[in-house]
């Protein structure tokens, strides 16, 4: 049951994780004094870009995205436009939430927005890839008992892990240790990344062990 999907999922996740690893290692060749702490924003953009690119390519190749009935170019373009719009809106949404959590409003707005971009590419991008720009489907997936395929469950797990990772990552900030990773937003983005990686590992594992119990009602 679901064996094929699980195998596909494992390879997808391995690809994404590898791309994140490369995004951390490769820029060191091109940029002098590249480090995760020192040039944090650069690392952050590299990782987000890599994850975005790889997810789009992989999911497009896999064909998980629900096929559309209309195949006209105009419709495809409008979908693309909507996806971009949602991406941007989601960045704004995360930015707002982070500010509500207490990030300074004006100073270090760039850092906050970068974190929002990272969170968006780790969570919303995946939603866009799996579900398409369809808010109804998103709401369905994230409400209780709303998953309709293995990919939906996987999405739930990774998104939850990423958000919890970012949430937990904020805890070390008040400690007076004066470490480089306590600088805003390093700990949060690292937390989100680690949470995401955990999610990538946890989702297939969990689904594998619960594959007998998993039943999805169809539309």
């Amino acid at each position: 049951m679901w064996d094929h999907e699980i195998r596909a999922m494992v390879s997808t996740h391995a690809l994404i994780a590898a791309s994140m690893f490369m995004a951390t290692v490769l820029p060191a060749v091109f940029v002098l004094s590249f480090s995760v702490y020192g040039t944090h924003l650069l690392w952050l953009y590299c990782t987000s870009g890599a994850v975005n690119a790889v997810s789009v390519v992989v999911f497009w190749l896999l064909g998980v995205t629900p096929s559309t009935k209309k195949n006209t170019l105009g419709y495809k373009l409008s979908r693309l436009f909507r996806a971009c719009l949602y991406f941007f809106l989601s960045c704004l949404f995360f930015h707002t939430v982070i500010v509500l959590y207490g990030a300074p409003l004006i100073e270090s707005a760039l850092e906050t927005f970068s974190l929002a971009v990272l969170l968006t590419s780790l969570t919303t991008m995946r939603c866009l890839c799996v579900l398409g720009p369809n808010v109804q489907a998103w709401i369905r997936v994230f409400s209780r008992h709303g998953a309709m395929s293995v990919w939906d469950t996987c999405l739930q797990i990774t998104v939850a892990c990423t958000l919890i990772g970012a949430w937990v990552g904020a805890f070390p900030i008040p400690l007076d240790w004066d470490r480089p990773w306590q600088v805003w937003p390093v700990s949060c983005s690292l937390g989100a990344t680690i949470g995401y990686l955990t999610g990538l590992v946890a989702a297939p594992t969990w689904i594998h062990y619960h594959r007998k119990q998993l039943t999805y009602k169809c539309k």
Binding site: L100, S143, G146
Partner: protein, 991 residues
């Protein structure tokens, strides 16, 4: 034995208070005080030591100085004088320090760096204990032995100008005085002119010996605009001019033959980077101490100032004036001051200081003989005696001088050792009392937890197996065991211990009680255990309950409460506790938001049948549009709450690390933005009225309106806000009349609320009347709090009411949260609002000026009450709202929801708080003081500071819940007695 659960809960609460008190007594040992109540007298001075034969010089040595002028500048930081900006700020003083005959030091003040304890420390030479900090927020006359009393007794004429704290501490001690109040912090010129205007005439006269000047302006500037403001330099230049004037006059008066003068420039405490003080950061504790007198050597260049304790000034001044050192002084004389007198005099001075310290050491520690300093002093005294003998025999050889120098060195070492031994006592813990108190609290906590399900059940009574456990063998064995442990510990204890000093009867009662508790605990646990196995056995039945899963909200509430408890293990999280609460509160709001979204978007269709069933009547009566608007309002509530919290968070910066960041509160309080502040507070008051008046009777409505107008006029009278028709003339008063006007309405509303409540209990059992009574009491409280809050804090109150109203209306009722969830949410909100007010775990953030609202002078009981009320207003308002809300929602919960239920919930939270306060704090303190580099010597300020922090957490933090628990107890009592009477009356009429 069956006990009513309310009685049980109150009983546990009271005993827990006792346990906590015992723990706190061990945690904060009493300060070093001599047991003798008398004061040191000139005639008590020890004779000069002399081996073989009694010495004839038993009196005090000759004074070094004829006149002393102490110029105390409040909040004078060390770097204002010695720092790179020194020549710019205080040119003349710097010149004297660098070239003149002066001595300069950095004097370390001990926390709390607040003026009153500092003045006490400077005059008595003692370090205030922590109990003192709490007890003496404002003390009347100082009865301890002190320098001023000694000077007055010796017939010295003292003149004082400056802060009127001195006048209150030392009434009738001064020949002439003029006190200025530091009540209006916004004024920084008048306070100093009031001091300086007397200076010229006083300096011309010759009839005084000691002149004390206390300048407050600098401190006020610090509070207004911080240590880097542009106002600092002119103020310091003014101080410099004054010093120049005094010095010049003293120099011109100096006559040959008579004793020289001494001019002391010092600060009582420093100023932190934000301009406040009270804590223990380096800039707050480092103050300059400059002694100027012709007897000191002239200097060629600037030397790096040495470091002394602030209390060292006391014995130095006492010896310099030829007075006995006050009894409780723990400082040692500054050696540099004595350098120019003869060797014999120097030794005599050191001997006197050493004698006083050794007496204090003898009094305060039973094991004084083991102290290294004491032994050194004995040796030095002997050597001093033999030196004296040789000296009196007329020996003047080089050997004698060398020997005298050796004695001098011995004395200095002994003094330093004794002084540090004495101040170390502050950092000691009384472990045995602490452990006893903790065990006590733990037993009660476990009993409470085990009995909780039973107490909350329908019968509302607990079956405690008291008799069976009293008659059991383990009880007697345990009694015997504990008693023997007590005897063993008390006979072998190396230091004094409070629990051992209690009388035998009390100790035995405690031992018996503790063992009885233990037996009850065991039997309760045994009763629970088979329950559990039975529960597991009936798996088919419980499987339906097993389906019930924890919602995200439950997980968050549990994880948050536990996580907060665990986070207190790190001292940074204690210092920055507000961050934790804001963070948790935001997450809570987001989770609630998710719940709301789920209810209105997705699961509406799934649970349509249920909704229709539960809200059959409502769905028909409500029109579609109303439902829709309600839906959007419900959806908007959590984001709105989030927004409010974000705004409030930037209103007051608290904590330690980021406290210096600019916040909206400071911006509003600056004089340029007075108009905005006035508009804001007027708007807030109107909003408060609109929010509160809904549930009151019309009498209370009118009273509330008048009261709120009174609040505004009080703020206008004090000078915080503007009246539109008021001219800009600065006629600030204390606003006593306005405040009393408000008090009258507060009392009126409270009275009418209580009347409604009682009537609902006795005459009619009308639940509507009862809930109205509760709401009226609540609104009376709101009115009182709005009077006490500073003008810039009114938005906190306003948002509090707004969030309460919205949440009650759209979230708690509509989403069917149960009582436990609502209680924990209220608790979290209350905690967060405690910090929104600008409080922190640092005791320095307590706003004492609230205690003077509406009072002409300091009256202890109302001042303490008002201060406590305004400090804990946030948690208190949320707790009251909880009581009101639950009692008005009583029918919705289906069961006869008693105040007792609330009480039980709160008791659970209370126990959590105690767990936090006690289990975690002592190890944290120790580890922090060992980690902190400043603490590597005896008790650095770090240890004291952590104690101060944990005092607030361990002592006052439970206070936040304790208050709530007591309120519930009182409610319970009132309700129960009135209900019992009502039923009795009904029975009589029918029977």
């Amino acid at each position: 034995m069956k006990v009513r659960s309310s009685v049980f809960a109150s009983f546990i609460l009271m005993l827990e208070v006792l346990g906590v008190a015992l723990f706190l007594r061990g945690f904060f040992p009493v300060p070093v005080k001599s047991s003798l109540s008398s004061k040191n007298k000139l005639s008590d001075l020890p004779p000069e030591p002399l081996t073989g034969g009694s010495s004839n010089t038993s009196g005090a040595p000759k004074p070094l100085f004829k006149r002393v002028v102490v110029m105390l500048v409040d909040a004078l930081r060390e770097d204002f004088v010695f720092g790179p900006n020194g020549p710019m700020f205080l040119p003349y003083t710097r010149h004297v320090i660098e070239r003149g005959s002066s001595l300069s030091f950095v004097a370390k003040a001990r926390p709390p760096t607040v003026t009153m304890p500092r003045i006490k420390a400077l005059t008595t030479g003692s370090i205030p204990g922590f109990i003192d900090v709490v007890m003496n927020l404002n003390s009347p006359a100082l009865s301890e032995d002190n320098l001023i009393w000694q000077a007055k007794t010796a017939g010295k004429k003292i003149i004082f100008y400056g802060d009127d704290t001195w006048v209150r501490l030392f009434p009738k001690h001064f020949m002439e005085y003029d006190g200025t109040t530091s009540f209006f912090v916004s004024d920084y010129t008048e306070v100093d002119n009031n001091v300086t205007r007397h200076l010229d005439s006083t300096l011309k006269r010759d009839d005084w010996d000691i002149l004390i000047l206390h300048y407050l302006g600098l401190d006020h500037i610090g509070h207004i605009s911080g240590p880097h403001s542009s106002l600092i330099q002119p103020k310091l230049l003014e101080m410099d001019d004054i010093l120049k004037k005094i010095h010049g006059s003293l120099v011109s008066k100096e006559a040959d033959g008579s004793l020289p003068y001494l001019l002391v420039l010092c600060g009582d405490h420093g100023m932190s980077e934000t301009g406040s003080h009270g804590g223990s950061s380096e800039p707050e504790i480092n103050t300059p101490l400059v002694l100027i007198s012709p007897i000191f050597k002239r200097k060629a260049e600037m030397e790096k100032p040495g470091v002394v304790e602030q209390v060292d000034l006391t014995p130095t001044l006492a010896l310099g004036l030829g007075l006995p050192i006050s009894q409780n002084s723990v400082g040692h004389v500054i050696p540099g001051v004595l350098e120019e007198s003869s060797l014999r005099e120097q030794l005599r001075f050191l001997h006197l200081n050493g004698h006083q310290l050794s007496c204090l050491l003898k009094d305060s520690t039973p094991e004084y003989q083991k102290e290294a300093g004491f032994e050194q002093f004995r040796v030095a005294e002997k050597a001093h005696g033999s030196w004296m003998k040789l000296y009196l025999e007329g020996n003047t050889s080089e050997v004698l001088t060398n020997m005298g120098k050796k004695v001098l060195k011995q004395y200095l070492e002994a003094l330093a050792a004794m002084s540090s031994a004495l101040s170390k006592q502050l950092g000691k813990y009384d472990m045995y009392s602490m452990i006893a108190g903790m065990v006590f609290v733990f037993q009660l906590l476990l009993v409470l937890l085990l009995a909780m399900p039973e107490a909350l059940s329908g019968s509302a009574s607990v079956d405690l197996p008291v008799l069976s456990s009293l008659l059991s063998l383990p009880f007697y064995l345990l009694c015997l065991f504990l008693a023997s442990v007590h005897v063993l510990v008390c006979t072998s204890a190396e230091s004094s211990c409070y629990f051992c000093s209690l009388s035998w009867g009390l100790v035995f009662a405690a031992v018996a009680f503790s063992s009885a508790m233990f037996c009850i605990l065991i039997s309760l646990a045994r009763r629970r255990l088979p329950d559990g196995s039975q529960f597991h056995g009936k798996s088919p039945q419980s499987s339906s309950g097993g389906e019930w899963m924890l919602s995200e909200l439950d997980v968050l509430l549990l994880a948050g409460t536990v996580g907060h408890t665990l986070s207190l293990a790190a001292s940074s999280f204690v210092e920055e506790e507000h961050q934790t609460w804001y963070f948790l509160l935001n997450t809570l709001c987001l989770t609630v938001f998710q719940d709301v979204c789920r209810k209105y978007f997705r699961e509406q269709r799934d649970e349509e049948e249920q909704i229709v069933l539960s809200k059959k009547s409502q769905t028909f009566s409500h029109s579609g549009s109303e439902m829709c608007s309600e839906k959007w309002l419900a959806l908007a509530t959590p984001p709105f709450t989030l927004l409010c919290c974000r705004l409030l968070r930037s209103l007051n910066q608290t904590g330690v690390q980021w406290a210096h960041l600019p916040d909206v509160g400071h911006w509003l309080n600056s004089s340029e933005h007075k108009v905005i502040l006035s508009l804001l507070s007027a708007f807030c008051l109107v909003l408060i009225y609109l929010l509160v008046q809904r549930r009151c009777s019309w009498v209370s409505k009118v009273a509330l309106a008048f009261g709120l107008v009174g609040v505004y006029s009080y703020r206008a009278a004090v000078g915080n806000v503007l009246f539109p028709w008021q001219h800009s003339s600065r006629t600030t008063s204390k606003g006593t009349v306005e405040a009393r006007f408000v008090y009258v309405f507060v009392l009126g509303i409270l009275f009418s609320g209580t009347k409604d409540l009682l009537r609902s209990q006795i005459i009619t059992t009308d639940s509507k009347l009862k809930s109205r009574g509760l709401w009226e009491i609540y609104s009376g409280l709101v009115l009182l709090v709005s009077l006490l809050f500073r003008a810039h804090n009114l938005p906190v109150l306003c948002c509090c009411l707004l969030i309460q109203t919205l949440m009650a209306q759209f979230i708690w009722k509509k989403l069917h949260y149960d009582a436990a969830q609502t209680t924990i949410m209220h608790y979290w909100f209350g905690q967060a609002f405690f910090y929104f007010q600008g409080n922190s775990n640092n005791i320095a953030t307590v706003d004492i000026s609230v205690g003077f609202v509406g009072l002409e002078s300091y009256v202890e009981a109302p001042a303490v009450f008002l201060t406590a009320l305004s400090t804990y207003a946030g948690p208190l308002l949320w707790a009251c709202h909880l009581v009101c809300y639950l009692s008005s929602e009583r029918d919705r919960f289906g069961m006869p929801l008693h105040v007792c239920d609330v009480q039980a919930h709160i008791h659970l939270l209370l126990s959590f708080a105690w767990l936090q306060g006690f289990v975690i704090h002592p190890p944290e303190c120790q580890c922090k003081s060992s980690m902190w580099p400043t603490a590597q010597s005896h008790t650095g300020p770090a240890a004291i500071y952590t104690k101060q922090m944990s005092l607030n957490r361990a002592g006052c933090h439970p206070g936040r819940y304790l208050g709530v628990g007591v309120i519930c107890d009182v409610w319970e009592c009132i309700l129960n007695t009135t209900q019992a009477r009502a039923t009795a009356a009904v029975n009589n009429t029918y029977g």
